[in-house]
């Protein structure tokens, strides 16, 4: 599935945490330390990228897997509309 193609935030965070604890463990050679640091910086960058990429969006699922923006109108109004349209195709908000 497409969702597994790209690493998730927590995996990058985990990589970052591993780099940090490896560095803090003080067991690494200088080269390894530099590599760990670089890896940590890379993971940090990925984390920030994911956070920056997040985009506020609230949508509602329509029939046939279509979507449209969900507007925060009064619940009662929407309920009336929904009931009025029962059996008539897409739910419109």
């Amino acid at each position: 599935m497409a969702k597994d193609k790209e690493k998730k935030f927590e995996e990058h965070l985990q990589a970052l945490e591993q780099s940090v604890s490896a560095l803090e463990g003080g067991e690494l050679g200088l080269e390894e330390s530099l590599v760990a640091y670089e890896e940590g910086v890379g993971a940090l960058k990925k984390c920030h990228e994911i956070l920056d990429r997040a985009e506020k969006k609230v949508a509602i699922l329509l029939k046939g897997d279509a979507e449209e923006p969900f507007e925060n109108r009064k619940a009662a109004d929407r309920e009336k509309e929904e009931r009025g349209k029962k059996g008539g195709g897409d739910i419109d908000f």
Partner: protein, 462 residues
């Protein structure tokens, strides 16, 4: 009087006997039964734990006793007005002569059959391992997109969106609208879960009841819905929102939230916390690397100071010290050696002189003794050579500059360079010149230089 009953003569009985007979009749002909009724006049005796109440319907009533042991098994609390299905033994309380029912079991009325079916379903799903803790998946740390399977008109949607907005302002949410109660609600919930399962853009689902009456949880106890939740490829949070009655949806979900707001909290991290965590980790990485480098430098310094590496320097120092000790001794040795050489030379010198003198004296004597024995020719030649020698000496004397000076000539040199002056260009007014006479030298200062034009001679070259 005979005890035999006679149709003519009514028997005479005591109240006790009537009570006993009534009890036998009641227990024998009615016995243990289910009674559908409403609870009334309920009271529980704290000391004994027994409860007494009245079971009534529109027309009649029967006193009921619930002894402590049976009462303790009840899964709900009896109270006035509750419609119940009670199971017990109809009997007579002889001291009072009152009939009553001793209740052994009570169920809320109207739940019985459905409750039974639900219990059977729970047992079945539990046997399949669908409630097992090992099956529960961890919730994503930061979902790319959250699905809310709930009624879009409910307060729950608003609550969840508010919570997510507060925690992670840029959260991406997909609302999957469903009815959560009433006929067909279970089917809609199941269909919504299947629709969510088909999508690849979601990381977590909140199945929320949001709104609806507190009693009607039936849709969330549906087997097909339970299986749809189990089949969902992403973690499901249930937020059915009923603390007492745990629904099957709650049991199969990966996480159960007590309210929609709590579910939203489970689903979304706090952005500020994430950013803080990243800052902290980045700081720790930098600090650790800096510390690492500092430690290595320190270790290097320590090694440089350690005995292992310091020894060569010590060795050099020791050698230098030895050298310093040796130098004066060497100097002394050299000096005494030189002194010994000089002493020996001093001792030899007089002897050398004496030997030389002896040798010269002998040569002279030999020469003198040989003179008379030279041939006459040789002697003539010798005399001639002597004459030539003295003549040459005379000429040599005549050529001496001193002889020229004696004749009144003089020679002038430049005071500074010592050059013999031959040309006007060699001096300038103010220069000092030294003039040499036969027996004197005159130092004078040039006041004027007057070149004399050349006579008929060619300009001579030096």
């Amino acid at each position: 009087m005979t005890p035999q009953a006679s149709p003519a003569l009514p028997a005479i009985l005591t109240p006790s006997e009537i009570a006993r007979r009534m009890r036998e009749i009641a227990e024998g002909s009615i016995g243990r039964v289910w009674v559908e009724a409403e609870v009334s006049n309920y009271r529980k005796i704290l000391r004994s734990g027994h409860a007494y109440f009245v079971l009534k319907d529109a027309q009649s009533q029967i006193k009921a006793a619930l002894f402590a042991q049976a009462g303790g098994r009840l899964k709900f609390t009896l109270k006035d007005g509750l419609k119940v299905l009670a199971f017990g033994r109809v009997t007579v309380y002889e001291p009072q002569g009152e009939y009553q029912i001793v209740v052994e079991q009570v169920e809320p009325r109207g739940v019985g059959a459905a409750e039974l079916a639900l219990r059977e379903l729970k047992e079945k799903l539990e046997k399949e391992g669908l409630f097992a803790a090992e099956r529960k998946r961890p919730l994503p740390f930061l979902p790319r997109r959250v699905a809310l399977v709930t009624s879009p008109t409910s307060a729950a949607v608003k609550d969840m969106l508010t919570v997510m907005e507060r925690r992670f302002p840029r959260m991406n949410v997909l609302i999957v609208p469903v009815r959560v109660q009433g006929a067909g609600a279970a089917k809609e919930l199941e269909a919504a879960m299947r629709a969510v399962s088909r999508r690849a853009d979601l990381d977590v689902v909140i199945l929320g009841r949001g709104g609806g009456s507190a009693e009607d949880l039936a849709a969330f106890n549906d087997e097909a819905l339970a299986r749809a939740i189990v089949d969902c490829p992403i973690p499901v949070i249930s937020a059915v929102g009923h603390e007492i009655d745990v629904t099957i949806a709650d049991l199969v979900a990966d996480r159960r939230a007590l309210t929609p707001s709590e579910a939203a909290e489970f689903a979304t991290p706090v952005l500020a916390d994430l950013e803080e965590r990243l800052r902290e980790l980045a700081g720790r990485a930098r600090a650790a690397l800096a510390e690492d480098v500092r430690n290595r430098r320190q270790r290097l310094d320590d090694l440089a100071r350690s005995r292992g590496l310091a020894r060569p320097r010590d060795l050099i120092e020791r050698h230098r010290q030895r050298l310093d000790g040796l130098t004066p001794r060497l100097d002394g040795a050299l000096r005494s050696f030189a002194r010994r050489l000089r002493d020996r030379a001093d001792a030899l010198a007089p002897r050398l002189q004496a030997a030389l003198r002896t040798r010269v004296d002998r040569a002279r004597r030999e020469a003198a003794s040989l003179e008379p024995r030279l041939s006459p020719a040789l002697r003539t030649s010798l005399a001639r050579r002597r004459e030539r020698l003295s003549g040459a000496a005379g000429r040599l004397e005549a050529l001496s500059p001193l002889r020229v000076l004696a004749r009144g000539y003089s020679m002038t040199r430049h005071g500074r360079t010592g050059e013999v002056l031959r040309r006007a260009s060699q001096v300038a007014p103010g220069d000092l010149v030294r003039t040499t006479l036969e027996r004197a030298e005159i130092v004078s200062k040039i006041t004027e230089v007057r070149p004399v034009p050349p006579r008929d001679e060619q300009p001579k070259k030096e």
